[in-house]
């Protein structure tokens, strides 16, 4: 474990160091002269602010969407469903994870494109076509779908741990169902929800494949810019500087999550 931490931290430190170098524009070799130009560009060029904002914003939106979708289902699985229905639902939630990530994203392209299933269905009931293929809306839908199981499972685990006796006690004291959900279940399930949000948020934050496949003209994520700087421009220092942005965002996120007790829920 200590080795793992050491190797991981050493890589992160190396990343940080590279970010303070630059490249020779002619040979694209790394020039080891200390400067903060890369960070200055990221902070001053509005393009990068837009891209960071888009990435973090969509990650937050996907997380909220998944909380709203996952909580009722997880609650039903943990507290209402019979044992049999529960296992069926479990299988249904986990089954998509058996299929490749790419297969599922491509399936969404088939649904959302101009002559896709969505528009075909809309037109067959007389509605105008929805033009959401290759847009940020499409990315929001696909991300929310892809990461949903990662929200359901920790939420379910947290809800499962809420003793029924507490709910009965609340009922005995005169609390109605929504009141006990709000005051008893929700606070106890919160660490699970936060744990799930770490998955949905960080997975969206670091993704670059879905933006390539279902994104449109203005759909670049931090990952896409990092990828093009490493692969196309051979500008590893700039890629390293930009890659520190999600590291910082996640550090803040994880510290907050720890305060909310998310790690005990995992």
């Amino acid at each position: 474990m200590a080795w793992f931490v050491l190797i991981y931290l050493a890589s992160l430190v190396l990343l940080l160091i590279t970010a303070f170098w630059s490249i020779d524009p002619f040979t694209t070799q790394i020039v080891q002269v200390w400067n903060i130009d890369n960070f200055r560009i990221i902070l001053t060029d509005p393009t990068y602010r837009t891209i960071v904002g888009r990435t973090a914003g969509l990650a937050a939106l996907v997380t909220i969407t998944d909380v709203v979708l996952a909580f009722p289902l997880a609650y039903y699985m943990a507290k209402v469903a019979s044992r049999r229905v529960q296992s069926l639902l479990f299988a249904a939630v986990l089954l998509p994870l058996w299929a490749s990530y790419l297969a599922r994203v491509y399936a969404w392209i088939l649904i959302l494109n101009h002559s896709g299933v969505l528009n075909w269905s809309l037109q067959s009931i007389g509605l105008p076509a929805a033009n959401i293929g290759y847009t940020n809306t499409a990315m929001w839908l696909v991300f929310s779908y892809i990461w949903l199981p990662f929200m359901i499972i920790p939420t379910y685990a947290a809800l499962e741990r809420v003793p029924d006796s507490l709910l009965e006690a609340a009922a005995d004291l005169g609390a109605r169902r929504w009141r006990s959900t709000l005051d008893v279940v929700l606070p106890l399930a919160l660490p699970g929800v936060v744990a799930g949000s770490i998955f949905t948020f960080s997975l969206t934050l670091g993704d670059y494949i879905t933006p390539i496949l279902v994104g449109g003209a203005g759909s670049q994520f931090i990952g896409n810019v990092v990828y093009s700087n490493v692969g196309i421009a051979n500008n590893v220092p700039f890629a390293a500087a930009l890659a520190t942005v999600p590291v910082l965002i996640m550090a803040v996120y994880l510290l907050t999550a720890q305060r909310l007790g998310a790690f005990e829920a995992l």
């Binding site: 060029d45 393009t47 390539i212 449109g216 810019v225």
Partner: protein
């Protein structure tokens, strides 16, 4: 960088024209290529004979560039077993070839946008054209094009080429478009697709060279700051009109097939595939001309199977194999003798792919080359490729 101009005195062409018309050397189709800084491997003398094959050949190539139909006879004749590593992009090729191929790769079928990067990183070394008998049958332009030949030294042997065409839906465009203006026209908002590649800035520059002559753009890959800014501004105004920047040829094919887009920049390959699938499309080279890609077999600096590499280059340069590859991939051979072979395989194909084009035809196509800081006139005012890449990021938003 100015101090390295000593490397200039390499060709007679240059000595004669160093003051006045260095660019004229490139554009008059003499096989002297570009006149630039000396690459790291420039002094590496290429081998003068081809010895016995080493039994293996490791290639980084475009998918389909080593088809069974011409690899099997090659292996049977030379004993060189061909191991392929298809690359997805020029950038992947550049990164695979780092450190001279690292002893893992012998050759790469690099496109013009990658060539100078490979040459100036010292990842590829000069090749001896005397060992490739068919080289003398190549179109004059491709014997020493500026993207693979520097100061008269050949860093590879040209292979095939193709234009970047304007692809359109024939149902939407009843009258075929004749200008690139259709992909900058707000009337086509949300129905346009262009390649997700920084080299696309050159397409905008080419369009501006015709529509805004006051900018004085001569070579779309050698842009000064003003010209570069104008091209970037044009592309930024195009961004809201774009449905999607396509990364893979198959992406563009499905965009056209599903009706998501009706017009875009493409390769002949997409047109052929879409027509085979029955899609109502056609392509054209608009009045402003077109950019184009041209591929070169380059020899890795640390190649461990150089004899097999030369035997392979010799083989793929022969008219028959040139014709087979051209027809299977939808591109044009550089060997002029391939025309007859193409006609034999598929009547009419030689003219269809411009394999019989006269030398002047190649002045209408601006072949990809890596933009570098040094312009053709020797000054260092041109915008290098890393700035093309960061500008491309800001264009896409």
């Amino acid at each position: 960088m100015a101090s390295t101009h000593a490397g200039w005195v390499r060709t007679g062409c240059l000595v004669a024209t160093a003051v006045l018309a260095v660019t004229a050397c490139g554009s008059s189709n003499t096989p002297s290529g570009s006149t630039l800084l000396q690459p790291p491997t420039a002094k590496t003398a290429p081998q003068t004979t081809i010895g016995a094959g080493e039994g293996q050949l490791n290639l980084v190539l475009w998918d389909g560039y080593a088809d069974k139909s011409w690899v099997d006879p090659f292996t049977a004749a030379t004993g060189c077993k061909v191991n392929q590593h298809p690359a997805g992009s020029s950038d992947e090729m550049v990164s695979l070839m780092k450190d001279g191929g690292g002893g893992n790769w012998d050759m790469v079928s690099a496109s013009g946008d990658a060539d100078l990067r490979l040459i100036y990183s010292g990842d590829v070394k000069p090749m001896n054209t005397a060992l490739i008998p068919d080289w003398t049958n190549f179109q004059t332009y491709f014997q020493g094009p500026p993207y693979n030949t520097i100061n008269g030294v050949h860093y590879g042997i040209s292979l095939q080429w193709g234009p970047n065409t304007l692809l359109y839906n024939t149902k939407k465009f009843v009258n075929p478009p004749t200008s690139w203006s259709v992909i900058y026209d707000p009337a086509n908002k949300g129905l346009i697709t262009v390649p997700d590649n920084p080299i696309q800035i050159a397409d905008a520059a080419l369009y501006l060279s015709a529509t805004k002559p006051s900018l004085g753009i001569k070579d779309p890959y050698e842009l000064n700051q003003t010209q570069f800014n104008a091209a970037v501004a044009l592309l930024k105004s195009q961004q809201p009109l774009i449905k999607k920047y396509w990364a893979l040829a198959t992406d563009e094919i499905s965009l056209f097939q599903n009706g998501d887009v009706t017009v875009g920049a493409a390769w002949p390959y997409q047109t052929i595939q879409l027509k085979l699938a029955g899609a109502p499309v056609a392509d054209t080279i608009p009045s402003e001309g077109a950019t184009g890609w041209a591929d070169t077999w380059m020899l890795a600096t640390k190649a461990t199977h150089p004899n097999c590499a030369y035997l392979w280059t010799k083989w793929v340069s022969t008219p028959k194999v040139q014709a087979m590859q051209a027809l299977s991939f939808g591109e044009t051979p550089v060997n002029t003798k391939a025309c007859a072979e193409m006609e034999a395989l598929q009547p009419g194909s030689c003219a269809q792919y411009h394999a019989d084009a006269p030398g002047s035809y190649f002045n209408t196509i601006k072949f990809w080359k890596t933009p570098i800081a040094q312009c053709g006139d020797g000054s260092n005012t041109c915008i290098p490729y890393d700035q093309w890449v960061s500008a491309w990021t800001t264009i896409k938003g």
